[in-house]
């Protein structure tokens, strides 16, 4: 593998966050991030984006139950026919 640079680091960042890189690549990305303020910032920003997205995942739960199931059942009956 070529020596790590910012472009390569950026390319591998998400897989690094997911722990999907080989141990060699992980070590290269980690040491690059520790030495490069721009890439460290990119890493922190991506982690923040991921955090906001996962917090966002909490959504309204009852809606589907209350409205969709009766409709779907009616639709199912219609499709089945008499």
């Amino acid at each position: 593998m070529d020596k790590m640079n910012c472009e390569k680091c950026s390319e591998l960042l998400l897989e690094y966050m997911d722990g999907e890189l080989s141990s060699e690549e992980t070590a290269l990305v980690r040491s690059h991030i520790e030495a490069c303020p721009e890439c460290l910032r990119e890493y922190e920003d991506y982690a923040e984006i991921r955090r906001t997205a996962s917090e966002h995942a909490a959504g309204p739960r009852a809606i589907a139950r209350n409205r969709i199931r009766p409709r779907a059942r009616r639709e199912g009956e219609r499709l089945e026919g008499p």
Partner: protein
């Protein structure tokens, strides 16, 4: 007990098989399990308001009913479900430009008995949530950022980061090679980072952390 699963513990694929065999409760379980997440995906994917997104969700699950005979129980149910949802969103986006919402106050169409009541409940529930102003702002920033993404980047980001699908599953859902999925996710992050930066969000966060 005795290694027998309770009905509620059946896998998605087993529930779908029950439904294919005419047991409606299999469908109900799947709807309860996945309805909220698919609704969220639809809302974020299309930018549709709550009422329209519910209609789209209904249409998706009606397709599940209509196409149940085509489902192969060997296939992961969520891959099949999100394929239907994703294609339905794309059809919707083709006929209506993104973020051209109808008004939230638009009357609920005739025949949706109880619909207006449900919408009121949703609105009330959203307002009633003990939600800090800060959290709302974060959500706005994310929504804005998502709205600005290219459609193919947005869908990959939502399936991965909000719905928690694996990259392989996303490749199956979107019919794209794994490498394409990975690069689209990277582009989504790159563009979201730009949007978050322009909104001043990161700066605020760094200040808050005392950096």
């Amino acid at each position: 007990m005795f290694g027998i699963k309770k009905k509620s513990e059946l896998s998605d694929e087993e529930e779908m098989k029950r439904f294919q065999n005419g047991d409606e409760s299999g469908f109900n379980v799947l709807l309860m399990r996945h309805g909220p997440a698919v609704l969220r995906f639809i809302r974020k994917m299309t930018g549709a308001d709550a009422a329209r997104a519910e209609d789209l969700l209904q249409e998706v699950f009606v397709k599940v009913i209509e196409r149940r005979g085509h489902y192969d129980p060997g296939q992961k149910f969520t891959t099949w479900l999100y394929s239907i949802a994703r294609n339905h969103c794309i059809d919707f986006l083709r006929t209506e430009s993104f973020r051209r919402h109808g008004s939230l106050d638009a009357p609920v169409s005739a025949g949706d008995e109880g619909g207006a009541v449900v919408i009121d409940m949703i609105r009330g529930g959203e307002r009633a949530q003990d939600e800090k102003v800060y959290d709302r702002e974060v959500r706005d920033v994310l929504d804005e950022g998502l709205g600005g993404l290219k459609e193919e980047f947005r869908e990959v980001f939502l399936l991965r980061e909000v719905e928690g699908l694996s990259l392989d599953e996303i490749a199956a859902v979107t019919g794209s090679p794994l490498g394409t999925v990975k690069s689209r996710l990277r582009y989504a992050y790159r563009d979201l980072r730009r949007a978050f930066t322009e909104s001043g969000y990161f700066e605020e966060r760094r200040k808050a952390r005392g950096e």
